[in-house]
């Protein structure tokens, strides 16, 4: 009997460790933010995404037309397959603020493929704060 209880106790302890570790690793990171692009010069079509996270509460894109024209920048959220969770939001005046939320995904910012001039991207930001 004692050996059975000892064996069951070890299994329960191991299970508890696994459950705890899973909970810690899978927990969404709240209070997280990321400037996932900084000080870049982008040509038409250039883009980048942030890391994936939960409860993303907005995207901001700071950019300037240092190389002329009125280049446009856009933002959206994507899923883990890279598909858009919403449609691109565009502007030709930085900073662009995207106030949309997503339960889980990554933010993506992009220089519009129709741009005739390079654009200076000071930063692209997202977070769940």
């Amino acid at each position: 009997m004692g050996r059975i209880y000892r064996g069951r106790g070890r299994r329960l302890a191991a299970l508890a460790v696994v459950v705890l570790a899973t909970a810690v690793l899978a927990a969404p990171a709240f209070g997280w933010y990321s400037y996932f692009v900084q000080n870049a010069v982008w040509n038409a079509g250039n883009n980048k995404r942030s890391a994936f996270n939960s409860n993303l509460k907005g995207v901001a894109v700071s950019f300037q037309n240092l190389y002329g024209g009125l280049p446009q920048m856009g933002s959206r959220y994507i899923d883990s397959s890279g598909n858009g969770l919403d449609s691109w939001k565009w502007s030709n005046t930085g900073n662009l603020i995207d106030d949309r939320n997503v339960a889980y995904g990554a933010a993506q910012c992009m220089a519009n493929s129709g741009n005739n001039y390079s654009v200076y991207v000071q930063w692209c930001y997202t977070g769940n704060q």
Binding site: W88, W90, T93, L96, I97, D98, D99, R100, S113, G114
Partner: protein, 203 residues
Amino acid sequence: MRSRGRKRLVLAVVAALAVVAAVAGGVALAGGGDKPPPGVSAGVSALTRLPPQAHVPDNVAWFVTFESKATGTDPAKALKGVRLLRQNLGVAHADVYAFKNAAGSPCFLLTGDSGTCARSPSAGTSGLHWTIGGGDAQRPSSLVGIASDDVSQVQLTVDGAQVPISLENNVAFGEFPQGHQHATIVVVHRDGTQSTADVNLQG
């Protein structure tokens, strides 16, 4: 005979000078008089005419603080200057809040959607600081922007179809279904001049 020739020569020179002067004057008029002011530098009177908001929603306060810091503006001062320019817009019944940053540029937010906060009022399309596109399962795509006082009308064409755009309190707004390819924004100024922006909506 020689005297008549001289007179003809003088007349020809005078006529040529008159033509040059007229052409130069025309060019000067077209270059200076026909060009609308850059960005929204003609002024956004709703930001002073309407009363500041005593309380703003949390996401608007976050936007004001974030954009104030990003544009070298005192966040506390910016929060005191927030105006509610339009309410209950579109499918999502969204509102447009705005404030002026340290550079004098209007920073606006269509709640739950988008906005801009330019470094200078002279930035962007003449007469309109805009965002376009977006949309998800809950709401269609939209055009929203802050128009300067010298703008009489904002027009939007999406894949060749006209989209109605309302213009009140310096805010232009209209919605259209998602999935379109191309948009053309036309800003009509009170002096009859127009500014346009073409956007590839799919990037």
